[in-house]
C-alpha cells in the first residue's frame, strides 16, 4: 500500500510499504477514509521529537472502515465506519479505569525508551515517535488498530467523515483543556494558540458556560476564524502586549483558566516557526499563561513538549498559588461525548479542515501546514484523492 513516511529531518515522502496485518487478537485493520495533520507532526518531521526512524508512517487522526477483525474483538465488525482515538490504550489497567487512558500502562511497546525520557511509560500513539510505541500511522491506505474494542468508535450515520475525523484527537484534546481547567459558568478563559486544538478548547469552554473566552495567537487568519466561528475575543500577540491586555480585560485579576495549546516552538529553520512571539526552545505560551493567570487559577498545558524547557516561572506558580495541569488527550473517555455533541451540532469543527489533498500530495500538504500559508489550519488527506 502507499503511505506518507518520515525519511529524516524535514523529509517526508509517499512510499510503498507492506499492508498491515492482524498482530494481536484484539486488533482490527481499518481502511482509511480521511487522515488529518496535527501540529505535533511538525515536531516529528523536523526531528525535534526524538526516536523517529526512517520509513515510519505518519498520521494519528483518522476515520475509516473496518475491513478485518481479530478473533478477540467483540464490539466491531467488518464494515463498521469508525473514528479511532490517536491514543493506543488497553482500557483495562488502573489508569484506563481511572479515566486516564493516555497514561495507560499497556499501550506502549517500547517502554524502555519512554522510561528513560519521562521516568514512566505513557500510552502509545499512532504515527508517532518510537518513544510512544512506534505504531504505524494513518496517512496510509490501511492501518492496524490495537485494542480496537477500546480505541475505535462507531461513527453515527448522520455524521460526515469531515466532522468525525476531528473526534480522533483534536476535539477530545480541546475538551480535555476545558475539563482540566474545570471551566465553570462565569469564568474568563484565555487560550494560547488558535490552531484546531486551541479553537476546540475555546468551544469547549463556551459550552461549559465560560463568561468570556479570549484566544491569543499571531496568525491573523486563525484569529479571524476563531472570532467568526466560535464568537470569542482575540488578541494578536505581535501587536499588543497580551499579558497587559489580559490584565486590562479582566479588571486586573487575570484569567481564571489559562490553556496553552501551542507546545514546543516550531523548528528554527527559515521563518517557519513563530506562532507566538517567544522563540524556539522556549515554553513561550506556558510562560505567558502562568503570568496571565489570576491568583489561585489553573494553567492547562495541552501543547506537546518532548523533554525539558528552561525559563519556567516557578516563582509565579508558587506565589500565585496556581494549579498547573497537563495531559495528552484522553479520547477513550471523551470521544463518545464528543461524537454526541457533534451529532447535535454543538461541535462543528469541519471548518478547521481548510485544505484537502490526495495522500499522494502529502509532502505538499505538510509544506502548506508548516508554513501556515493560504489560511491553512488543518490538512486532510484521502488515500483515493476524493
Amino acid at each position: 500500500m502507499k503511505a506518507l513516511c518520515w525519511q529524516g529531518p524535514d523529509r517526508v515522502a509517499v512510499e510503498r510499504v507492506p499492508d498491515p496485518r492482524i498482530v494481536n487478537a484484539q486488533d482490527v485493520i481499518v481502511r482509511v477514509r480521511q487522515s488529518m495533520t496535527c501540529g505535533s507532526d511538525l515536531h516529528l518531521i523536523s526531528g525535534r521529537f526524538p526516536d523517529m526512524q526512517p520509513g515510519d508512517v505518519l498520521g494519528h487522526e483518522f476515520v475509516g472502515e473496518v475491513v478485518e477483525v481479530g478473533s478477540e474483538v467483540r464490539r466491531h465488525a467488518v464494515g463498521d465506519r469508525v473514528v479511532v482515538c490517536s491514543v493506543v490504550a488497553c482500557g483495562r489497567c488502573w489508569y484506563c479505569r481511572q479515566g486516564l487512558p493516555s497514561c495507560c500502562d499497556n499501550g506502549n511497546t517500547n517502554p524502555e525508551i519512554a522510561e528513560l525520557a519521562w521516568s514512566a511509560v505513557p500510552a502509545g500513539c499512532f504515527g508517532h515517535s518510537h518513544a510512544l510505541g512506534g505504531f504505524a500511522g494513518s496517512h496510509a491506505e490501511y492501518v492496524r488498530v490495537p485494542y480496537a474494542d477500546h480505541g475505535a468508535f462507531r461513527v453515527p450515520d448522520e455524521l460526515s467523515d469531515d466532522r468525525a475525523v476531528f473526534a480522533s484527537d483534536a476535539a477530545p484534546a480541546g475538551w480535555l483543556g476545558a475539563e482540566l481547567g474545570d471551566v465553570r459558568p462565569g469564568d474568563v478563559v484565555a487560550i494560547w494558540g488558535c490552531g484546531a486544538v486551541g479553537q476546540l478548547a475555546a468551544r469547549a469552554a463556551v459550552l461549559r458556560g465560560a463568561d468570556r473566552v479570549i484566544c491569543v495567537d499571531l496568525v491573523e487568519d486563525r484569529l479571524a476564524l476563531a472570532e467568526r466561528e466560535i464568537g470569542v475575543e482575540t488578541l494578536h500577540c505581535a501587536r499588543v502586549d497580551a499579558g497587559a491586555e489580559l490584565r486590562e480585560r479582566t479588571g486586573g485579576r487575570g484569567a481564571d483558566v489559562c490553556v496553552e495549546a501551542v507546545g514546543m516552538a516550531p523548528p528554527r529553520a527559515g521563518t517557519r516557526g513563530g506562532r507566538l512571539r517567544h522563540g524556539a526552545d522556549e515554553p513561550g505560551g506556558v510562560r505567558e499563561a502562568v503570568h496571565a493567570c489570576r491568583k489561585g487559577g489553573t494553567v492547562v498545558v495541552l501543547g506537546v513538549f518532548a523533554g525539558y524547557v528552561d525559563g519556567f516561572p516557578l516563582g509565579a506558580v508558587l506565589h500565585k498559588g496556581l494549579t498547573v495541569r497537563g495531559a495528552r488527550q484522553h479520547g477513550q473517555r471523551h470521544i463518545p461525548e464528543v461524537l454526541d455533541r457533534m451529532r447535535r451540532d454543538e461541535l462543528r469543527p469541519e471548518y478547521l479542515a481548510t485544505h484537502r489533498f490526495s495522500l499522494d500530495d502529502g509532502p505538499r500538504g505538510y509544506d502548506l501546514f508548516r508554513d501556515r500559508t493560504e489560511g491553512c489550519v488543518r490538512v486532510v488527506f484521502t488515500p483515493d484523492g476524493r
Partner: protein, 106 residues
C-alpha cells in the same frame, strides 16, 4: 519499575524490580503459582507477590540474586542477548499485560 539496591559498603548489590498489576493476588498468582512469563525466569530470581495498598491490585516484586555487573559486563550481556535484568523487566511487564488485557501487545 526497578529499584536499585546498594550494599552497606556502597557496592551495587542485587537489584529489585517491581510491577503493580491491577488484579487481586488470587488472580495474579492462584494457589501461589506465578504467572507464566515470571515462572519461566527460573532459578536466581526470587519473586514476591503482595497486595498493593489502596486496593490497587497486586505488587509483583522480583529480586535478581546476583550482584549488579559493571557497565562493560552489562553492555556485553545486552549485545549477546543474555541481559538477565532486561529479561526480568520484560517478564514482569508481560505478566502484567496478560493479567490485565489477556495478551502481550506486539
Amino acid at each position: 519499575m526497578d529499584v536499585s539496591g546498594r550494599t552497606a559498603d556502597g557496592r551495587a548489590g542485587p537489584r529489585t524490580y517491581a510491577v503493580t498489576i491491577d488484579r487481586p493476588p488470587a488472580e495474579v498468582a492462584p494457589d501461589g503459582k506465578l504467572p507464566e512469563p515470571v515462572a519461566r525466569l527460573g532459578p536466581g530470581v526470587a519473586v514476591t507477590v503482595r497486595p498493593a495498598p489502596g486496593g490497587r491490585g497486586t505488587e509483583l516484586v522480583a529480586v535478581l540474586c546476583e550482584d549488579e555487573p559493571g557497565p562493560l559486563a552489562r553492555l556485553s550481556a545486552r549485545l549477546v542477548g543474555e541481559d538477565r535484568r532486561a529479561a526480568v523487566r520484560i517478564a514482569l511487564r508481560q505478566a502484567k499485560q496478560v493479567a490485565e488485557t489477556g495478551e502481550v501487545l506486539r
